[in-house]
Symmetry: C2
């Protein structure tokens, strides 16, 4: 982790990807992020992937570096504990990150009665509060219909919950922006972002809304081509598959040099009466370009050209499965300072990423694992000013729980 | 836009998605973001999608709300202009966002000679500075091999440059974190993020590294299923396609109620000796669940069940193409306060998103279009203290350019 946000305190009541990812991102940057959950765990407590004994590797991944308190929020005492937690004093506290849709005592208006300058970051499905998730937003905004082999009619969903990941990052950004505003003006506020709005905004940002509106063009499936330039995957002699990218002219030059095809492409350009030094022309003639390059890869194993490609600055990569990545890629190992081996109680040790951002003025330290559910219940209650006797009574009445009770 | 960052000033020297998206995101939150480019435009100046006359809708999308200056950086005068721009005084200035790999005068160490507390946010391909892009990072970390129809051997790349989008958001976050640190300590710094590290971190965050390491399981392609729970796409009687999601038990209950299949699923559970109220069991028996639900959709048009699904709180969506989205979805129209119709010189008017985040204490105003290349050259030079005579001489010597000169 990189403690650039040390001192900042965020209380998180959330589940699944976007909001917990926002909290985790800030935790890995040094913020004290306290996640509260029901005593039996939140909706994502058993989310796959899970170990053979049912421990969620997903939960362990998205809650790294946080502290955990488990509270029965159906009780008045539980509601008071969570309210005190969210609205605790301190200039860098009073920030609440949530995607829960609990009405009443957890509303922004109710909570700010307890802290006027509260910042509440609320992540929603759609702008009307509808129950949209990554798996519905993606089909609704068009990507699955444009993904997959040319000519196929089957929509292809993404495996990466990209909208969740993007929205989570933007929610973290929204928190820092609101905290900056509060430090300057003294004012807190309600900050809201909807998963579907984030996706629609990106549709506009990438020029796709413009393309539909101005060009009246509905982009079809194009396999693994790079729209508007050249990229293609090839099968090599050893059965491995690689992708090469010729987006910029430098990349295109490097491909020609490394595959010794400059003369062949000059001949092709002449035959097609095309200027292949223009990215759009490379895209239009991508099938012809691929024909020229195919024999190079079909007759060579990756070992035979990989080193030379790197030396020549070719932008390329080998296709890997998830297991290949973990087993073969040095970037996915402790050789990469972002990664550490961490031991998770009840699971074992495995490679764990810290923050991917490096700050030259803040040392990178080992990431912290996710807490067990309720692991920090007692210390958090003590910080809130509850006495040992109070804490004991809460446990006896099953209003709070420590670790191992789920 | 939402002017929560008003006063903050960022200078951007960048191209393509991740870094320009970071700048655009901050611009739409009110920061003054000045993008500098070569006189003929950066590498992304003609990036697709483009209009029939070659104007880049991509560029227009990723540079909204910025100001533009065009400078010949091969000249000493041009280098001095850009250095003065990056290192201009002011407590909220002195922030440089880049993905350029220019050595020498644009290094962090060279630039900080001109402003000791400079913040430089550098977006790289991989941690070693290799030329990785979204199109190579994605195959390299495994997602294409796990995407697409069950049993298929063909890797499927994503159409959304997801790693760029995620990295861009995190780069914006890194800037705010570093600026917060500078406001507290007076210290600037070099901040770095690599696209591939961001992707590898997410592989860990989502539990996939854990799954490979602990379970020794390499997740295969699973079509449009939701790993570890239930989601499936169906073709309806009118040919439309929808997806339904049964991740949480509430979602699963709503599906059963809205499709009147509770009795059928009780029978199925008994026959399979399975507890379908457990998300993992729903996943394991997804093919059987789909068999039960298929006739419902095959015999109905979307109109026949859509309203009822919404009323029952079903988490579902209709598959759309990009054109469908723009033509049919009210969320993708000026009904949504995030969107405005903006007029782009040389292109025309089309729907443009502002910031997807809403801040209750900061009014949402109309987004600003992207500038033309060099549109703000003269005003920016004046702000840097150059006289009218200097500016005229720079133009005469082709050291700078105004709009329309590319």
């Amino acid at each position: 982790m990189v403690k650039i946000l040390e001192g900042l305190r965020i209380v998180e009541g959330a589940a699944f990807v976007a909001a917990p990812l926002a909290g985790m991102t800030l935790a890995q940057m040094g913020a004290d992020v306290i996640r509260f959950d029901r005593i039996r765990g939140g909706l994502d407590h058993e989310r796959w992937p899970v170990t053979e004994t049912g421990r969620s590797l997903f939960w362990a991944g998205l809650n790294k570096g946080k502290r955990s308190i488990a509270v029965d929020m159906t009780t008045p005492e539980g509601q008071e504990i969570v309210t005190r937690l969210i609205c605790a004093p301190g200039p860098q506290a009073g920030i609440y990150l949530t995607n829960l849709r609990v009405r009443g005592w957890m509303d922004y208006d109710a909570l700010r009665q307890h802290r006027e300058d509260l910042i509440m970051m609320s992540v929603k499905g759609d702008r009307s509060g509808g129950p949209q998730v990554d798996y519905t937003v993606n089909p609704a905004i068009g990507f699955p219909s444009a993904t997959g082999p040319e000519g196929s009619e089957e929509p292809v969903g993404h495996v990466l919950p990209a909208w969740d990941c993007i929205t989570g990052q933007q929610a973290a950004l929204g928190i820092l922006a609101a905290e900056r505003h509060r430090a300057r003006t003294g004012k807190g506020q309600l900050v809201e972002i909807a998963l579907k709005d984030m996706a629609l905004a990106m549709l506009g940002n990438l020029g796709i809304i413009g393309e539909v509106s101005v060009n009246k063009y509905d982009r079809p499936k194009m396999g693994n081509s790079l729209y508007g330039a050249y990229a293609q995957d090839f099968v090599c002699a050893d059965g491995a598959r690689v992708i090469i990218v010729g987006l910029t002219n430098r990349q295109w030059d490097n491909i020609q040099r490394a595959t010794d095809t400059r003369a062949a492409f000059e001949a092709l350009a002449q035959r097609l009466n095309a200027d292949l030094d223009k990215e759009g022309e490379r895209f239009k003639h991508r099938a012809e370009i691929t024909k020229v390059l195919k024999p190079f890869f079909a007759s060579r194993s990756v070992d035979a050209f990989g080193t030379e490609f790197d030396r020549a600055g070719v932008t390329w990569a080998r296709y890997r499965t998830f297991m290949d990545v973990v087993e073969q890629d040095p970037d996915c190992s402790v050789e990469n300072p972002m990664f550490s081996m961490l031991d998770y109680p009840g699971i074992g040790a495995y490679l764990t990423p810290g923050s991917p951002i490096a700050f030259s003025d803040v040392e990178r330290t080992c990431p912290r694992r996710a807490p067990s559910l309720g692991e920090n219940t007692d210390e958090i209650l003590a910080e809130l000013g509850y006495s040992d006797r109070d804490v004991g009574a809460f446990h006896d009445a099953k209003i709070v729980a420590g670790p191992g009770s789920e």
